[in-house]
Amino acid sequence: MTLATTRWVGSLTLMAALGMPGIALAEYPEQPITYTIPFDPGGESDVTARFQEPHLEEILGVDVNVNHRPGGGGAVGWSEFQSKAEPTGYEMIGVNIPHIIAQPIMRENAGYETDNWKIVTFFHTTPNALIVPKDSQFETLDDLVQYAKENPQAVTLGGSGTFSANHLGALRLEREAGVDVTYIPFTGTGPLPAAVQGNHVSGIFNYSMLGVQMQDNARVLAVASEERVPALPDVPTFKELGYDIVGGAYRGVAVPKGTPDEIVNTLEDAFAKTNERIAEKQEPLGFVMTNITDGEVDEVMQQLQSAYQPILEDAKANQ
């Protein structure tokens, strides 16, 4: 392509970006894409983005710059993105369920709305897992439920964050099993292994990854996925055990509302291909790879919103 045509296409892109839909975007992408992670470096979202970065660059043919905008459990980055990002396809941000569902309900002003963007894809989930110390009296989930029925509030379950995936998992267990347990929030996943191994709590609700990581030092009673997690083949699902609990964190990526469909499709494809390439590395760690796009995104959002909304509103009323 000659320089002149590049310029021509470039100015077309610019015009489209300035709000002139109808003109087809010949060549997206043409310039570096910013990929914001609203969490600290080193967490699951960040590590995933680092895995994706080189593959996205190869597939899309432009630089993908991962940057971080942490704070408020993601809310600072999300509120800034919804108020400032342009629908050009050159700005995208990592999004996580249940955060984007729970924060706008629970906080007076989270600064963003659950639906005020276009979610391109959810590329993986990390199902909740119920983990107890190795020498725990609870050999199975039934043991724990039985004990919790006889001793209300005596079972203490740690987890990462408040009204997080872990907390909601514990709340759903309470509803499904008709028990009353005490949830102890910790800040992040970091302190949880110590809490289990030091018997500071009866057990923890955390992600399948920690279950994989702690196989030798702890017992995983159940995982909250539809099917068994590949990296934990011997651990039953809650469903198998008779409790309808499927949930955990969904991680994906969103662009501003009004981003042209062609661009969204290009990104969808790029993420799907990237996922295929990094599955080999991520699956053994306990991630469950998915490719939820388009209509399915709305379906998942609706399903989880209706599962979490009553729990959250209950909790809010009790605050």
Binding site: G71, G73, I184, G198, N217
Partner: protein, 513 residues
């Protein structure tokens, strides 16, 4: 033993040593820049290790970690600004030393202490990892609450002169730490409807604001550089290094005590280097024959702070490698690297993949040794730059780097405004005698204490008297007693003095004091 030798040979290659050297140097400079922490250094350099072999990647990150923790001492000593939070305690005596023209001595002492600390941490990790790891899991929420309180008693010793002003500073810090989303419970507090404040006040932002900005304002007000230009070295750099070496090894009790404190606190998950050096500093002062000289340029303060925070580098790997528990924030990134390469923390790491693990541990020892030449040379260079640059160039440059560093931390202009605001307020607080250190201490420890307390109360929800959980086991009782003892030893001298005086002057006896 074979494994250890094999590991030694696997890192003693040209490639290996160059990796460590580059890692240490890169870490040193990142650590020396205010706003760039060890955690960030590791996160930024992480992608470069993806293309390396697992061992080489771990060696590079271990070296960066070691260099960054040490690099924080440079700015702490030369411009009264901790480059990383673990060097806060280094400013207490390092900067007064520098103001007296003893900057290079302070740097030399910090370097030697860091090297020794780093190597001792590696020794602990190699020899005592399994028994020490057991210690990591006994610190539950209640114990963390007491550890935080123990740290807070430090406020008393930091507030030279007025205990009241020190406590006031501590309270300001604790209040600042409550802004944002609460660690337990998730409510937003004191955000005044501004979504950006949900992120709270980042410790580093406060650190930069409270330490650097007041220093810059007073430099500008007095029209002086960071250091007196007359600060000539007595008998050159070589003799300064020798003198410090003799001082440190001549009376090794301070060094040994600081290293042991460093190791113990490194193992406690959630405490990390910020707390390590503060506690080590406090104990050095408490056991010193001349506690009054601390804070005025006593080199033992620098030694305590810098040796203990470098012990932490390898020391915090004890719970990480054996149990998968990150002892300090940067360790979470190392954990990520291990997992990425399919290495699961646990005993397998020391048997099946022992060569790799031992290689990683030994490489941290080499990294510590490399600090000596890199640090002493780099130290001379940076020292000369800071002393020789006229203040009207130095001042804007520092201000610029500070603002960039603050922005880079979270890509946030809000943080820059918070930093400048805290800095301006901090300047006036300093004028009325409220120092930055107790404020920052309150910020660090307030959160830990809050978490520990609320978690303990939640666990105890079925108990008849919930707060008894705070002293429910031997360790928490011991820690609680230490807190009481620490308060008593701080208050007692003053109280005795007062009551002594009261005994002499009868008429004062009935007046409330």
């Amino acid at each position: 033993m074979d494994m250890l030798l094999e590991a030694l040979f696997s890192i003693l290659t040209l490639e290996g040593l160059v990796t460590i050297l580059c890692g240490v140097t890169a870490g040193l400079f990142i650590g020396a820049l205010p706003g760039l922490t060890a955690t960030m250094a590791l996160a930024v350099l992480l992608p470069f290790t993806f293309t390396m072999s697992p061992l080489q990647g771990l060696m590079a990150l271990g070296a960066v970690y070691m260099g960054a923790i040490y690099g924080g001492a440079f700015t702490a000593i030369l411009i009264n600004t901790p480059g990383t939070p673990s060097s806060i305690a280094t400013t207490f005596d390092g900067y007064p030393m520098a103001r007296k023209g003893r900057a290079y001595e302070a740097l030399a002492a910090a370097t030697i202490a860091s090297v020794v600390g780093g190597i001792i941490g590696v020794a602990f990790l190699l020899l005592l990892a399994p028994p020490l790891a057991r210690l990591a899991v006994v610190f539950g929420p209640a114990e963390m609450f007491w550890v935080a309180l123990l740290g807070l008693t430090l406020v008393a010793s930091l507030s030279s002169g007025s205990l009241l002003k020190g406590l006031l500073g501590g309270c300001i810090g604790m209040l600042l730490s409550t802004i944002g989303v609460s660690p337990i419970g998730g409510e937003t507090r004191f955000i005044f409807g501004i979504p950006a404040l949900q992120g709270g006040i980042e410790l580093i932002v406060a650190l930069i604001g409270l330490f650097v900005v007041p220093e810059l304002i007073s430099m500008a007000a007095q029209g002086r550089g960071a250091l007196p230009e007359s600060g000539k070295l007595q008998g050159g750099a070589g003799s300064a290094i020798m003198r410090m070496g003799r001082h440190i090894f001549g009376k090794p009790i301070n060094l040994i005590r600081s290293c042991i404190i460093g190791q113990i606190i490194a193992i406690i998950p959630g405490a990390g280097g910020n707390v390590t050096s503060l506690v080590a500093y406090n104990e050095a002062r408490r056991f010193s024959k001349d506690p009054a000289s601390f804070g005025k340029g006593n080199v033992d303060g620098v030694i305590a702070s810098e040796s203990s925070n470098n012990v932490m580098v390898a020391g915090s790997m004890v719970p990480l490698l054996t149990l998968g528990i990150p002892g300090a924030p940067p360790d979470a990134i190392i954990l990520g690297v291990l997992l990425m390469h399919g290495l699961r923390p646990g005993l397998d790491l020391f048997t099946e993949t022992g060569v790799l693990t031992n290689g990683f541990i030994l490489s941290m020892g080499f990294a510590a040794m490399f600090l000596l030449p890199v640090g002493l040379l780099g130290g001379r260079l940076i020292h000369r730059v800071v002393v020789k640059t006229p203040f009207y160039f130095l001042l804007p440059s520092i201000a610029m780097v500070t603002i960039l560093g603050t922005y880079a931390l979270r890509n946030s202009m809000t943080d820059v405004f918070i930093m400048l605001l805290l800095g301006s307020v901090g300047y006036f607080l300093r004028l009325i005698g409220i120092q930055a250190a107790p404020i920052v201490l309150g910020m660090i420890l307030g959160v830990i204490a809050e978490k520990g307390y609320v978690q303990t109360m939640l666990v105890a929800v079925v108990d008849p008297i919930p707060w008894l959980r705070l002293v429910a086991n031997p360790l928490s009782i011991v820690l609680a007693c230490l807190v009481l003892l620490s308060v008593a030893t701080t208050l007692l001298p003053g109280w005795l003095e007062r009551s002594g005086r009261m005994a002499k002057v009868d008429s004062d006896e009935e007046k409330p004091s």
